[in-house]
Symmetry: C2
């Protein structure tokens, strides 16, 4: 498959850049600047921006392999400065840092600026700047401060731009990327997710053959799409296991069973491990310990189920592209699978080969694949739900009584958000049980009840988050419904903390 490589220098926009290229119908892949790169099928290279200065002692470098690959290169911001320095130009820090919107003017013809007006607004964020271009390079645009905003050597197919074309604030940014990808790199832009699904089903069939595979279905988007995709390829040779650890939301078990067994036709086994988990969690109050116990117990349950399957050779995992990039970024240069959907460190003696059918896809692409496969909207667009489930949404010790209360509260909150159209507007919403007792009035006397906290956040990828500005009238309805319908709750609060400094989940 023909593709563009995006070399990551640590910009917060690297994934966005890769995504924009895919949206142009060209498959793209993110690699770290010091990865060992295979140039098979690569038709062009984009160097991302990054937080460093090229003069920093540990400044990330560009490998000779890239420079000598004879492929078109587009350097953005740090990527541009790095090439300028590397090829004999000059980069300086002049104290006139530019942040935000700036107007640039095209000063010389360029394939990169084909069919684009001669003056337009771009978005930049830099302190360093290229003050002299390398030999045989020409300046193609300047900012209103007369700073070099792009240069190139058309013969060698090397282009540099100081601004970020991937950001919406840059006018004609998509057109510039299109000029590079379609024009300069000569890619047709025919990659589609339909092709992806067809190819992937074939690929899975080729890999697994008539052997058996197993998947831990969590009910979340990624494992659901991975399961259904694999089921299309190998049918009932895929066994899906859904572990009911008792920390799930109201009616969740029934919903997962009806969707995947009845509607999608999967070979699904639900393991009722509620008592097992609850007894292990008795008297445990420390969040980290809760997570650890649940994670370990999950593996043990899954392992037992897996062993029941004779001839099972493959384990399917719902790892997606951002997991892969994050794992790679986290400092370990060896490829590390992120502990995912609770199937973190599977014990050695299971000895299953891992298949990750979604590992090239971004989250929204995973959703589109789900749509192509006919998965219901409620599964594809549901909010993220943590592996340890409600256990980390009850502060302190967990017991059945508290779980029952929290399930009711959470279901009222989510139901109201769906009724009012707010569920799809927020990134994630849920309820938390604070086990402190505060005063309320029931009839004419004082009563003590728990506090329910509502959490809802807006986010793009979950790394940072704002608390959602859900209208007061809706919060009011949710609050009244909860105190009316759940007698153990006398008080409702709304979390107004952003991430950072708070996290999205409470524990």
């Amino acid at each position: 498959m023909e593709k563009i490589l995006v070399v990551d220098y640590g910009s917060q926009y690297t994934q966005l850049l890769a995504k924009r290229i895919r949206d142009l119908g060209v498959f793209s892949e993110v690699v770290q600047f010091d990865d060992n790169i295979s140039f098979n099928d690569v038709k062009g290279i984009v160097l991302s921006g990054g937080p460093d200065s090229v003069y920093d002692i540990d400044a990330p470098d560009i490998s000779d392999e890239i420079l000598n690959a004879e492929l078109p290169i587009l350097g953005i911001c740090y990527g541009m400065q790095l090439m300028a320095k590397k090829l004999g130009g000059k980069v300086e820090q002049r104290g006139i840092a530019e942040y935000g919107k700036t107007k640039i003017t095209i000063t010389d013809q360029s394939l990169l600026f084909k069919k684009i007006p001669s003056t337009f607004n771009v978005w930049m964020s830099h302190k360093d700047m290229v003050t002299q271009v390398p030999e045989k390079f020409k300046i193609t645009s300047l900012t209103s401060n007369n700073i070099i905003s792009s240069f190139e050597n058309e013969t060698e197919n090397i282009y540099g731009i100081q601004f970020h074309p991937e950001v919406r604030h840059t006018e004609f940014g998509i057109d510039i990327l299109k000029n590079f990808v379609h024009g300069i790199c000569g890619l047709k832009g025919s990659w589609t997710l339909m092709d992806f699904v067809e190819n992937k089903i074939k690929e899975i069939r080729d890999t697994i053959g008539d052997k058996k595979a197993i998947i831990a279905l969590s009910g979340g988007v990624d494992s659901s799409v991975a399961a259904v995709l694999t089921h299309r390829a190998i049918g009932n040779n895929l066994k899906a296991i859904f572990v009911n650890h008792g920390l799930l939301r109201m009616n969740e078990v029934e919903e997962v069973e009806s969707t995947f067994r009845d509607y999608m036709g999967l070979n699904l086994t639900t393991v009722d491990a509620q008592e097992r988990f609850l007894s292990k969690l008795k008297r445990v109050t420390d969040p980290e310990q809760k997570r650890k116990i649940i994670g370990e117990e999950f593996i043990r349950v899954f392992e037992q189920e897996a062993k029941k399957e004779k001839d099972c050779e493959y384990l399917i995992q719902g790892t997606i592209y951002s997991d892969v990039i994050e794992s790679a970024k986290s400092g370990k240069k060896t490829f590390k699978i992120k502990s995912h959907h609770n199937v973190g460190g599977l014990p050695e003696d299971i000895d299953l080969k891992i298949v990750e059918p979604l590992k090239e896809l971004f989250k929204d692409e995973v959703r589109s694949v789900g749509e192509i496969l006919g998965l219901p909207r409620e599964i594809l667009y549901r909010h993220p739900f943590p592996g340890p489930g409600l256990a980390i949404r009850i502060i302190g010790e967990i017991n059945e009584e508290k779980l029952t209360i929290l399930k009711k509260v959470d279901s009222i909150f989510i139901k109201t958000l769906k009724e009012t159209g707010w569920y799809d507007k927020v990134w994630q919403a849920f309820a938390v049980l604070i086990p402190v007792k505060t005063v309320g009035i029931t009839g004419d006397k004082r009563s003590y009840g728990y506090v329910a906290a509502l959490r809802s956040v807006d986010s793009v990828e979950g790394m940072t988050a704002d608390w959602s500005k859900i209208p007061f009238e809706i919060l009011d309805v949710v609050s009244s419904r909860i105190t009316n319908e759940v007698e153990e709750i006398t008080r409702v609060v709304y979390d107004i903390s952003s991430k950072p400094p708070a996290t999205i989940e409470w524990e």
Copy 2:
């Protein structure tokens, strides 16, 4: 002092009725229907509405003393029905209950409707209705349903109206009350708070003479105004005692001292009892026990201080009119002083005579008196603060660390409300410390901190309350300031519970 008696039959508007009459410059006093009434200085009687039906077995009655007092009487709603029945008319329940706005038409001349249009909207809420007026009475208006909305016997000076003139929704309601009070009762309306202050200072001076008096100053509106008023009367013979129990807000001790000792010139003693209270509260988690310990300890501290004063014969208390009415209403027919400002049951052996200089005044009148006396706005318009202070705003056990955290959080919240003009818009606002630890991010690592809850409510008299709809931008600023400036807090929530079912305070 000439006055109007308002006889209370349990209407929620009784106090409002008394207030409206005072606003017409006529002193008014609320009495319960079965009180022993003194008619000294009384120039007219208003019978309030009430929830009962005149045919209920225990229906509150009207005494012959009132009927025979030869004073003008105005019966409102239940008061009208009661007179109709008592004097030989007919009251029935016809199933055409009227609630809310109704149009009435004047059908006969009446002093009550002098200078009022012949048709106007009134506000009613009744099931029973007068269907036949007593002998020698005439109907003076009808509703659009042809129900009798007023009757009278001008000779005997007895008037009845089915609607509520004290409610804003009744057009010309104030004019009708004015026609009764100024016109029919012949009162000039010259009562002012200026007169009140002058007379009261004289009265206190006459009562206390050159003896000494003591007051427990809490920094709240009522005790502040009572202290300053008494100080005007007897100067430094009033000793004000301010008990610092360590459960006060940030800088509160300094503010009280500078206001009352330095600015108002009071003879003020601050008792530093912080350690005493904190050691008594050690390991106490039950809210009711906290309140009890603080109340009892307060009395003990105050008692010790009082005993140091030789020849002290009087105790000044900031009881106000609504306290008096509430105490009287609470079922005890004997007059009972409401446990106020922590000086509830003073021990017998102190043997001080109690003086309550504000007991005839409503809250807003107390504030006006404070303004006349030159008390600063910050004291007069500050939000209510509970006797047990911050002790009931830290859930569970109290210690110095938590008090320090809560003081910082509370002061940030209040400061921001003042800066944005919201402090004066809400009834009461404060912070609560929830001692559960939740996750946050500090730098790049997980950290555990407390949760701060913000509470702000809109209310008229504190009996019911809505959570305040403080704009999101302001809540956002408060939340960031708190997590930035108070490192022990990683998460901020906003209380979205109304009273009922929650209470305003958390414990």
